[in-house]
C-alpha cells in the first residue's frame, strides 16, 4: 500500500521538536523508575532538608493516572481506576479517596511543577518505593498495576523483506520489527525529543564537530554480553563501507576519515576490506576513548548529523567478524533471523517467512521488562482487517482513512489519528517542458482547489502544507505564497504569459497547445489515484489539457527519476525529523535516480541549504529555512496538496498505545499493556 514510502523513505532517521541535540552527560541526581521503566522529568526531583520531593504529574501519569490541576484551589488531583487522590499546595493533608493522609511535608511548586514527598507515592496508589542512598536511584514497583502478560497481535499488510538487521532493514515492517529487537544510542520520547538509550548521555564540543557518546554500563545484548564501544564502531562502519547495500549509506561525508575508508586506505586490513569484513579498527572520525565511550568527529559542523546519522540500532559486533557487510541481513546472515542478538525490549523467537514473526519479552531489558509477554506480527491482506478485529485476532493495525467507518461501528475498537510527516505533492518538471515556465506552474497552483481535495477526497484526514518544511517540524514557515484556489488569477497569469484560449477551450501559444502529461502511480494510495482525474478537470477549467499517465512504481522510477521523462508527477513523501532538504531539493538530488527529478536548482537555494547546516543553533537554522521556504514557494518546483494524517485502529484492551508521527508508532512498546 505505502510501497513507495517504503521504498524511499525508510528508516526512521529522524527529529522534530526544537531541541538542542547537544547535551552534556546528563547528571540525573535522582533517576526514577516505575516497574523498571525510566521516568522523564521537566523538573528534576529535589532534596529539601534531607527529604526527597518528586514531580507529581510525571510520576502519576507514568503510573497510569489522569492528572488534573485546579488553579483556583491550588489543588492537584489524580485518578486511576477506583482511586482518586487530592493534594493542595502548602497543605500537609492529602486525600486518597477522601481519606486524609498526613504528609511529612507540604507539596510545593517549582518551575510550574508540583513536587510532593516521595513517600506519599507508594501510599497513594500502592506499590513499594525504594530509595537507594548509594546510587540515589528511586525505584517504584507495583506488582499489581498495570496488568502483566498477554500476547499483542499485530498485522503487516505487506510481506516484510525479512532483513531485520538494523543497519540494512529497508521496508517499513522490517524496520519496525528490527526496532523492537535493537536499540540505538538514543531514542525518541513522547515529545519526540531524543532521550538516552544505549548511551546514557552525549555531548558536542564547542566547535560542534566532536560528538561523544557515553554508553550505559548496564546495557546488555539478549545473550548477556555487555554493549561496548566496539559494537558501536562496527555498526556504524558497516553503513560507510563501500560494499554495504542498504538505505543508510549516505550522509557520512562530514565524518573524518570516511573518504579514506571507502577507498580502502585505512580502517581495515586489505584482506578484510576486499572481503567486506568490518572490524572495530578506529577511523579518524569514529573511535573509542574507552570501552564505554565512543567519539564521532566531523571535518566541519553538520547540523543534521546527530538526528539523521546516529539513530540506528547497534548490532553485536562479535557476531559479525565473519559475515561480510554485503551479506548483512540476507539469507546467508545467520544472525538475521536464525540467531539474532539484539538489545531491544523484545527477542525474535520465530520467523516464518511470508507468514509471521513471533517476539517475546526481553526479561533483562535495561529500560524495564515489557508488560506484554509476546508479540505476534502476522502478514495479512488488508481486505480482511475488519474481520480480524471482529474476531479479536488483531489488536493494532494501520487503517486507511477510507476504511475508518467500518472500525468506528465496532465498540471494542479505538481509532488513533495524528498528523504525520507524510505529504502528497505535484512535482513539476522544473528544467524542461511547459512546466519549466514559472507562470504555468503558478497558474496550475492557483487552479487547484486544495481544500476541496482535502475535504472530499481525503475526508479531512489531513491538513494544509505549503513548503517541504513540514508543519510538525520546527523549521515550518507560513510566511510564504500559499496559492489559495483562484481560477481567475490562474487564467489571468496564463493570458499574460501569452497562452490564449484556443477554439476548444485549450490554451495555445505560437500554435502550440498547452498540453501537460501528468504521471501518477496507478497502484496503492486510493486517494491519490482519485485525485488524478479531479485535477485533470480543474486544469481543464483554466484551459490546460492534462493527459493522465498511470504507471506502477518501478516504471515511475525509471521514467521519472532516471530519465526525467515527465511534465508533472503526483507523489507522496515522508520527511525525516531534520528539515535539511539535502537529497530532496538540492543539486546533488538532480542526478539520475535522485529525488529532485524536476531539476530544481538555483544558486540562492543551494547556498541556503548549505548555510543551514553550518550551525546547529535552532534559531539560526529557522531563519535560514524561512528564507529558503519563501524562495521555494516562489519558484514552486512542486505544489503540495496536503499533509496526511495517519490513522490506526486498535483494540481498547491495549493500554498506553500512543503512536507518534514519523513511523514512531511503537516507540513505547515495553510500556504497552493489555487489560484483558
Amino acid at each position: 500500500m505505502k510501497r513507495y514510502l517504503v521504498l524511499l523513505l525508510l528508516a526512521f532517521m529522524v527529529i522534530l521538536a526544537a531541541t538542542p541535540t547537544s547535551a552534556a552527560r546528563p547528571e540525573q541526581k535522582y533517576p526514577v523508575t516505575f516497574n523498571g521503566h525510566p521516568i522523564g522529568f521537566d523538573v528534576e526531583p529535589q532534596n529539601v532538608n534531607g527529604r526527597v520531593f518528586v514531580p507529581f504529574r510525571a510520576i502519576f501519569e507514568k503510573m497510569g493516572a489522569k492528572v488534573y490541576w485546579d488553579e483556583a484551589t491550588q489543588t492537584v488531583s489524580a485518578d486511576r481506576e477506583e482511586t482518586s487522590i487530592n493534594l493542595t499546595i502548602g497543605n500537609k493533608t492529602a486525600y486518597v479517596n477522601s481519606n486524609p493522609i498526613q504528609l511529612s511535608d507540604a507539596p510545593f511548586i517549582k518551575n510550574g511543577s508540583t513536587l510532593i514527598p516521595l513517600r506519599f507515592v507508594g501510599e497513594a496508589l500502592g506499590g513499594t518505593v525504594t530509595y537507594d542512598p548509594a546510587t540515589t536511584a528511586i525505584a517504584i514497583v507495583d506488582l499489581k498495576y498495570p496488568k502483566r502478560g498477554g500476547t499483542l497481535n499485530m498485522a503487516m499488510w505487506n510481506k516484510p523483506d525479512g532483513n531485520f538487521h538494523p543497519e540494512v532493514a529497508s521496508d517499513t515492517y522490517s524496520n519496525w520489527v528490527s526496532g523492537m529487537m535493537y536499540d540505538g544510542l538514543w531514542r525518541y520520547d513522547a515529545h519526540i525529543v531524543p532521550q538516552p538509550a544505549l548511551a546514557d548521555g552525549w555531548d558536542w564540543d564547542a566547535s560542534n564537530t566532536i560528538l561523544t557518546f557515553y554508553l550505559r554500563p548496564d546495557a546488555k545484548f539478549h545473550d548477556g554480553k555487555p554493549v561496548t564501544a566496539d559494537d558501536v564502531i562496527i555498526s556504524f562502519k558497516g553503513m560507510m563501507h563501500p560494499k554495504y547495500v542498504g538505505p543508510r549509506n549516505s550522509g557520512w561525508d562530514a565524518l573524518m576519515g570516511y573518504d579514506d575508508y571507502t577507498k580502502g586506505i585505512n580502517g581495515e586490513t586489505k584482506a578484510n576490506f576486499e572481503k567486506g569484513v568490518v572490524t572495530a579498527t578506529p577511523l579518524a572520525g569514529l573511535y573509542k576513548l574507552d570501552d564505554h565511550t565512543v567519539v564521532f568527529r566531523l571535518a566541519h559542523p553538520d547540523a543534521a548529523f546527530f538526528i539523521t546519522q546516529t539513530v540506528f540500532g547497534i548490532i553485536d559486533g562479535s557476531k559479525y567478524t565473519k559475515v561480510p557487510v554485503q551479506e548483512w541481513g540476507l539469507a546467508s546472515d545467520p544472525y538475521n533471523t536464525k540467531a539474532p542478538n539484539g538489545t531491544g525490549p523484545f527477542k525474535m523467537t520465530e520467523y516464518a517467512e511470508g507468514q509471521y514473526v513471533v517476539l517475546v519479552a526481553n526479561d533483562n531489558y535495561w529500560s524495564g521488562r515489557p508488560y506484554i509477554d509476546k508479540v505476534v506480527w502476522r502478514v495479512l491482506s488488508s481486505d480482511v482487517a475488519v474481520g480480524e478485529f471482529k474476531l479479536g485476532k488483531l489488536d493494532i493495525a494501520e487503517a486507511e482513512a477510507d476504511t475508518l467507518d467500518y472500525y468506528r461501528v465496532m465498540n471494542n475498537l479505538k481509532i488513533a489519528e495524528f498528523p504525520d510527516l507524510v505529504y502528497q505533492e505535484l512535482m513539476f518538471n522544473w528544467a524542461k517542458g511547459p512546466t519549466s515556465e514559472k507562470a504555468v506552474r503558478h497558474a496550475i497552483a492557483y487552479g487547484i482547489d486544495r481544500m476541496a481535495i482535502i475535504h472530499n477526497l481525503l475526508k479531512d484526514h489531513g491538513g494544509t502544507m505549503y513548503t517541504p518544511l513540514h508543519p510538525l517540524l520546527w523549521a515550518a514557515t507560513e510566511d510564504v505564497e500559499k496559492y489559495g484556489f483562484n481560477p481567475d488569477r490562474a487564467r489571468q497569469i496564463l493570458d499574460e504569459a501569452g497562452w490564449k484560449v484556443g477554439p476548444n477551450g485549450i490554451r495555445v501559444r505560437d500554435g502550440k497547445k498547452l498540453h501537460i502529461k501528468m504521471t501518477y502511480p496507478n497502484v496503492g494510495n486510493p486517494v491519490r489515484r482519485a485525485t488524478a482525474p479531479v485535477l485533470q478537470q480543474m486544469m481543464k477549467d483554466i484551459g490546460i489539457e492534462v493527459e493522465l499517465v498511470g504507471y506502477d512504481w518501478p516504471t515511475i522510477n525509471t521514467k521519472v527519476f532516471d530519465q526525467k521523462d515527465f511534465d508533472m508527477l503526483m507523489i507522496g513523501w515522508q520527511v525525516v525529523f531534520d528539515p535539511d532538504p539535502t537529497g530532496m531539493w538540492d543539486k546533488s538530488a538532480t542526478a539520475q535516480g535522485g529525488f529532485n527529478a524536476g531539476g530544481f536548482v538555483t544558486d540562492e537555494s543551494e547556498r541556503l541549504i548549505k548555510e543551514a547546516k553550518t550551525n546547529p543553533d535552532i534559531e539560526f537554522r529557522q531563519e535560514v529555512y524561512r528564507k529558503w521556504g519563501k524562495l521555494w514557494a516562489e519558484e514552486l518546483p512542486a505544489y503540495i496538496f496536503y499533509a496526511k494524517n495517519t490513522t490506526m485502529a486498535y483494540n481498547d484492551r491495549v493500554k498506553n498505545f500512543n503512536p507518534l508521527p514519523g513511523g514512531l508508532y511503537y516507540w513505547n512498546l515495553e510500556e504497552l499493556w493489555l487489560s484483558k
Partner: protein, 316 residues
C-alpha cells in the same frame, strides 16, 4: 505411446529454452530496476551507479542472459535480488504449499462437479437441475476475489467455522490438521469456479450422450437405469470433460495468485506477485518459466488423457 511420450517430453526442452529467451527480453525491457528500493533518499547517485554497475545491471542483455543461463545451469536459478537466497530454495519452499492448495481445489471441484452434472442431466428441467444451472452460472460469473471475501465474511467472521487466513498458527505446533483446517476455505473458494464450469460441461456432455442410440439400445435391453447412466453414458460423456483437466492447470495456478494474497497463504502466487512488484529478475524468470512449464505439461496431460479415455485416439 511410449515413443510419443518421449518425443513430447524431449520437445519440452527447446520450448522452455525459447520461452526463457523471450521472457528474459520482456522481463528486462520492462521499465524499472530491482535495486531502487535499496537506496535511501540521500544516497549519492554516483555511489548508486557504482553499486548497480558492480551488480551487472548495465551489462548488455546477451551478457546478462548468458550469466543467467550459467546460474540456472548450476541448479539454483540464481539468487533473489531482494533477500539474497537461492531462487530454487524459495520456490521449493513454496511450491508444495501451492500444489497442496491447487490440487485440493481441483479435487474438490472434480469430485463434486461430476455427480452434480450427472444428476442435473438425468433430471433435466427439474428443480435440482435449475438449482444446479443457476448455481454454476453464478459460480462462473462471480469474480473470484469477491467470492473469497464473501466466504471469509460468512465462514470465518460470522459463523467462525474456519480461520480466515494463514496456513499455520503462530506459536502453535504445526500439525497436519492445522494445515488442513486452514486449507478448507481457500481451497473451496479456489475450486468454486472449476466446480461450476465442470458441472456444466458434465451436464451438457451427459445430455448429449443420453440421446445417443446406444443409450436407447441399452435401455431397451432392459438394463437398470443406474447401469445405463453410470456405466454406458457417464464414461463416454466424460471424454470431453477429462480433456479439459489439463487446460485448467495453469488457470488454477493463476487463480492462486489472487487467493494466496487474500488468504495470506504463503505460496508461489504471493512469490510471483511480489517478484513483479520488485522487478526481482531471477525470481521473475524462474517463476515465469515454472508457469510456462505448467502450460506445456497441462497440454501434454490433456493429450495423454484424451488417448486414455478415447480408444479411437492412438498416438504413435
Amino acid at each position: 505411446m511410449r515413443r510419443y511420450l518421449a518425443r513430447r517430453l524431449l520437445q519440452v526442452i527447446p520450448i522452455l529454452f525459447g520461452v526463457s529467451l523471450v521472457l528474459f527480453v520482456i522481463v528486462h525491457s520492462a521499465p524499472g530496476n530491482p535495486y531502487a528500493y535499496l537506496f535511501g533518499p540521500r544516497t549519492d547517485p554516483a555511489l548508486k551507479e557504482r553499486l548497480m554497475r558492480e551488480k551487472g545491471f548495465y551489462d548488455p542483455l546477451p551478457v546478462q542472459y548468458v550469466r543467467w543461463i550459467k546460474e540456472t545451469a548450476t541448479g539454483h536459478f540464481g539468487y533473489s535480488l531482494r533477500n539474497g537466497a537461492p531462487v530454487l530454495d524459495q520456490i521449493m519452499e513454496r511450491l508444495p504449499r501451492t500444489l497442496l492448495l491447487t490440487s485440493t481445489a481441483f479435487l474438490i471441484a472434480i469430485l463434486l462437479a461430476i455427480p452434480i452434472g450427472v444428476i442435473s442431466a438425468t433430471r433435466q428441467y427439474s428443480l435440482v437441475d435449475y438449482l444446479v444451472t443457476s448455481f454454476s452460472f453464478m459460480g462462473i460469473s462471480l469474480p473470484s476475489f469477491f467470492a473469497a471475501l464473501v466466504a471469509i465474511y460468512l465462514f470465518a467472521v460470522t459463523w467462525r467455522i474456519f480461520p480466515s487466513n494463514g496456513m499455520i498458527e503462530a506459536g502453535q505446533p504445526h500439525t497436519f490438521w492445522t494445515v488442513l483446517y486452514h486449507l478448507i476455505l481457500p481451497a473451496f473458494t479456489l475450486g468454486l469456479r472449476d466446480l461450476a464450469a465442470y458441472s456444466r460441461y458434465t451436464r451438457s456432455s451427459m445430455l448429449e450422450v443420453l440421446r445417443q442410440d446406444y443409450v436407447r439400445t441399452a435401455r431397451s435391453k432392459g438394463l437398470a437405469e443406474r447401469t445405463v447412466v453410470y456405466k454406458h453414458a457417464l464414461r463416454n460423456s466424460l471424454i470431453p470433460v477429462i480433456t479439459l483437466f489439463g487446460f485448467s492447470l495453469p488457470g488454477l495456478f493463476g487463480g492462486a495468485i489472487i487467493f494466496e494474497t487474500i488468504f495470506a497463504w504463503p505460496g508461489m502466487g504471493l512469490l510471483s506477485f511480489e517478484a513483479v512488484g520488485n522487478r526481482d529478475y531471477p525470481m521473475l524468470m524462474a517463476v515465469n518459466l515454472f508457469f510456462a512449464f505448467l502450460v506445456i505439461t497441462g497440454n501434454l496431460v490433456a493429450d495423454i488423457l484424451y488417448a486414455v479415455v478415447d480408444p479411437r485416439i492412438r498416438y504413435a
